[in-house]
């Protein structure tokens, strides 16, 4: 089908729908929820973003650079090229890491533009075949569904506890899996039990209540890293915050939006906006989720009814490390003796501009020695489920990340579960021994030592 036929078909469809705004198209973007032309109008084609972009660094290809991607999206809007596979590839090969947004002098929102273009591509070319099925099950089946995620967590717990894991690893059953999945399996954390549903909906502050805050438990975080969620609740309550864990909350929708499924993304966004409507602060310990929540207004930019609500909600969202720092967190007194380095999760550093606060949190723990990680804010290749969809590129970035980790550190700290899984996989693959931790966990350990000491001094 050529462009003209596409346009005709879209118009015919819209006539059937008889909603007036449906007839809007933009060059060869013919589908609902059109991309935002002002975003590419900002780009002056200077190229200052090129070297910041991991996929350009790896390939050197202009269409795999931020400038090139913006140019391609604009070319579709100008009717110069069609929405087809050759257009889709550079748009979907983007890590959505936002490094370009930090580098860009003109504040071009490349990430948002890419997500909007993906929305068009997925409507133009719905996924079929195996990858379509995989993506559908994972994205529409599991992540949005708290119960199924829990079942998955339960199964994994069973798999690990029952000794099946040992058997599988020993017998080489794993050898039938593709390489990158095998590497992934090797580092799956010991799965605990999700916090959501197990903890009360309101966890009271220790001592006097300074403020009520809502907390997003997240899906991957809560299933794979429930210990990080437990630590986050402890750290917040220890600092005098009452932590709300409303049961109605769910997946943030980031992975869906990244994959071009904006409709599911919007559905999930509405659910979270509703769940946290009684809170003026929503704290997040997963950078990817935090960034998504902060950008709900981008998701609803073509929906005048929802937009103000989404803007109001996004303004309430904050990363937990920044919140703690800004609210004068209790400086721990006990020592945690360790040499540590910090990796900037893309969606924290580039996405939310949070770089200083988590480092300061770590530095304020007695005994912690911080060592710089060169190019700390270069993507580790995790990028949502990018490591599953683009194993080659993700693997190359992971190797570079691990090569950069200084030799003598004991721990690598960060603020995003996706990076934690990815970097743990790298540590394992490279035969190294660093422990991968969430920033808040370190603070939690220091506080727990403080509490232990306090208990002992009361006893004695």
């Amino acid at each position: 089908m050529n462009a003209e036929e596409n346009r005709l078909a879209a118009m015919l469809n819209s006539e059937k729908n008889d909603t007036p705004c449906q007839t809007k198209t933009l060059g060869n973007f013919l589908w609902d929820d059109l991309p935002d032309a002002t975003k590419w109008a900002d780009c002056v084609h200077c190229g200052m973003c090129l070297e910041a972009c991991p996929t350009y660094q790896e390939t050197g290809e202009e269409q795999h650079s931020p400038r090139g991607r913006v140019y391609l999206i604009k070319a579709v809007a100008e009717g110069k090229i069609d929405v087809n596979d050759a257009f889709s590839k550079p748009v979907f090969d983007c890590l959505d890491c936002r490094a370009c947004e930090t580098a860009c002098p003109a504040d071009v929102q490349v990430g948002g533009l890419i997500e909007e273009a993906r929305g068009q591509i997925r409507q133009a070319m719905p996924l079929t075949g195996f990858s379509g099925a995989l993506s559908k099950t994972a994205l529409q089946g599991f992540f949005p569904n708290q119960k199924r995620m829990k079942t998955l967590g339960g199964l994994m717990r069973f798999y690990q506890k029952s000794g099946m894991q040992r058997v599988a690893r020993k017998t080489g059953l794993l050898n039938v899996m593709p390489k990158h999945l095998k590497e992934m399996e090797a580092i799956l954390p010991d799965v605990g039990k999700p916090v959501l549903g197990r903890y009360p909906e309101v966890v009271p502050a220790e001592g006097e209540t300074k403020q009520r805050v809502g907390m997003l438990a997240g899906c991957i975080m809560d299933v794979m890293f429930s210990d990080v969620n437990e630590a986050t609740v402890r750290v917040l309550t220890h600092n005098g915050f009452e932590v709300g864990l409303p049961k109605e909350q769910g997946c943030c929708g980031a992975l869906h939006v990244h994959a071009g499924d904006r409709e599911t993304g919007k559905r999930l966004a509405k659910r979270n906006m509703e769940a946290f409507k009684d809170y003026d602060k929503v704290l997040v310990n997963a950078a990817g989720c935090g960034c998504a929540l902060k950008e709900y207004h981008e998701l609803f930019r073509n929906d005048p009814d929802m937009l103000p609500l989404a803007e109001e909600f996004s303004a309430k969202v904050e990363d937990v490390s920044k919140f703690l720092y800004d609210n004068d967190f209790k400086r721990p007194k006990s020592e945690v003796k360790t040499k540590i380095t910090y990796h900037d999760a893309c969606h924290l550093a580039h996405g939310q501009g949070v770089r200083f606060e988590p480092r300061q949190l770590l530095k304020d723990i007695p005994g912690v020695e911080m060592v710089d990680l060169p190019d700390a804010d270069r993507c580790c290749g995790s990028a949502g489920i990018y490591n599953l969809t683009h194993p080659e590129m993700a693997g190359a970035l992971l190797d570079r990340k691990i090569d950069d980790v200084p030799d003598d550190v004991e721990m690598i700290s960060m603020g995003n579960p996706g990076c934690m899984l990815q970097i743990a996989m790298g540590v394992q693959k490279h035969g190294r021994s660093e422990k991968v931790v969430h920033t808040v966990q370190l603070l939690d350990w220091a506080y727990e030592k403080d509490k232990e000491k306090a208990r002992k001094s009361i006893e004695s």
């Binding site: 002056v44 070297e51 202009e62 269409q63 650079s65 400038r67 050759a86 860009c104 003109a106």
Partner: protein, 479 residues
């Protein structure tokens, strides 16, 4: 909506030959993959290439060139594509030879202060990779985060710190070149700058990719200066600022950098990624840096402060630490891109003027701005008289691109009229080839095209650049 299959375009015979040389995945030929190569950092003229070839070594370049020569297909070398005069932009149908994957450092010899690199090596990476050993590479174009040293050689690029240290040509010790017949030659003996005979290094540097493709570069690296201090001076009157510049140079001080920005430029950088908090109601600021042996620096700074005050400065300050100095420079170096924050498109011009004529030139530029009803910002390497008027426009408004191009051309005319030149560092490319007539007679240009013909007899390498094409006027397309 039906799913669209991959466009059924099969590589033609030439593309297949190129694939045989460099590998199948190393050649782009689909329209969607080529379209972002339609232009470089200069977006007023665009043309589709026939293909893009990624080379990994000199042998690849030589074979690709031989093949294209045989097939009589024109070709262009391309680095990062940050050029501002259309040097890497196709007129239509050329094969682009991309050198970005040739980005290794081949040899580092700090004892003799030189490095041998491939042309795709990114400018800033060179300094970054030797800074821990106390060395740096001096030419620092504002695009240094992305541009390649191969591109710098082709454009003879300058930068803020070239006032004291010289532009690219002063830092090149040797080149390996693939000539348009495919032959590989080395010029400039390893590290020995002054060879008897013609200065071929000087000829090649700045030849805008029309004489040969650079495949290996030996550059000078310098020891970090012992000390460095930076001054920022705010002025209410541009005449005072210009007078201060002249007096600083007259006092015998050679600052490492001496930069000026006018109020519209300041509005831009303050709305962009690295705002400093410059007052928005000043006429201009000067950014002055001195470096060298620690002992002399404070005296020079005192002298500069005195000159600034004597010329009615509103406020003048010395950077209190490296962080502040870094921010001032990041703010300045984002200058061009920052225009994106206050205007959809910009056209940057690159005139050179005698320093002392600045106030009068700025008045004439303001008149041009009025005449064409387009805002013009000015960023000025004040120390060496290299002026960058940035013409702000919106390519989506019919006619604005053409008006911007005309305004740009008039700015260059003003520079030529006061005894200056039409390009300081960005090259002529497609953009300014017509304006070459402002400064060269037909005979002078014929002499130069004769030199080109010695290297590039069939004009297959980067055709249509640098010199006006007889009977062809540059077409302006919507940006």
């Amino acid at each position: 909506m039906a799913r669209k299959k991959r466009n059924k375009v099969n590589p033609d015979a030439v593309v297949r030959q190129l694939m045989n040389i460099v590998g199948e995945r190393e050649v782009l030929y689909l329209k969607e993959d080529l379209i972002s190569y339609e232009c470089d950092g200069y977006t007023m003229t665009k043309g589709m290439p026939k293909a893009v070839v990624f080379v990994k070594n000199t042998e690849h370049v030589s074979q690709v060139v031989r093949c294209l020569n045989r097939e009589r297909i024109p070709y262009i070398a391309r680095g990062a594509g940050t050029g501002l005069s259309g040097g890497a932009t196709p007129l239509g149908g050329e094969v682009i030879i991309s050198l970005v994957r040739m980005k290794r450092m081949l040899h580092l010899d700090l004892d003799n202060r030189k490095a041998v690199i491939e042309p795709g090596f990114v400018n800033l990476k060179l300094t970054q990779s030797i800074s821990d050993k106390g060395y740096y590479y001096a030419p620092d174009p504002s695009s240094q985060y992305a541009c390649t040293i191969g591109g710098n050689v082709a454009e003879n690029s300058g930068g803020a710190h070239c006032l004291k240290y010289g532009v690219t040509t002063n830092h090149i010790l040797g080149l390996e070149i693939v000539l348009p017949n495919g032959e590989v030659v080395e010029i400039g003996e390893d590290g020995i700058p002054d060879q008897p005979g013609y200065d071929l290094l000087g000829l090649l540097t700045g030849s805008e990719g029309t004489l040969g493709i650079v495949t290996k570069i030996t550059v000078k690296v310098l020891k970090n200066p012992e000390g460095k201090k930076t001054v920022l001076a705010y002025y209410d009157d541009i005449n005072d600022a210009s007078q201060a510049v002249s007096e600083i140079i007259a006092a015998g001080i050679i600052p490492a950098a001496l930069e000026m920005m006018d109020s519209i430029a300041i509005e831009g950088v303050e709305s962009a990624a690295y705002p400093v908090g410059h007052p928005l109601d000043i006429a201009a600021f000067l950014l002055i840096e001195v470096d060298g042996i620690a002992a002399g620096i404070d005296d020079q700074i005192d002298e500069i402060l005195t000159v600034c005050k004597h010329n009615n400065v509103r406020e003048v300050k010395v950077a209190k630490d490296e962080a502040e100095r870094g921010l001032w420079w990041a703010n300045r170096k984002m200058g061009f891109g920052a225009m994106g924050a206050i205007s959809p498109d910009y056209l940057v011009q690159d005139g050179v003027i005698p320093r002392t004529r600045l106030p009068e030139v700025l008045i004439r530029i303001a008149e041009i701005s009025k005449k064409y009803d387009l805002r013009i910002a000015n960023i000025f390497h004040a120390g060496d008289g290299n002026l960058h008027p940035l013409i702000l426009f919106d390519a989506r408004i019919p006619g604005e691109s053409e008006r911007a191009a005309k305004a740009g051309s008039e700015c260059l005319k003003v520079c030529a009229d006061v005894g200056g030149s039409i390009t300081g560092e960005h090259g002529v490319g497609i953009e300014k080839s017509a304006e070459m007539r402002f400064i060269f007679s037909d005979e002078e240009m014929a002499a130069q095209t004769n030199i080109r013909a010695v290297f590039n007899p069939d004009d297959l390498l980067n055709p249509g650049k640098l010199f006006p094409q007889p009977g062809r006027c540059v077409e302006v397309k919507q940006g």
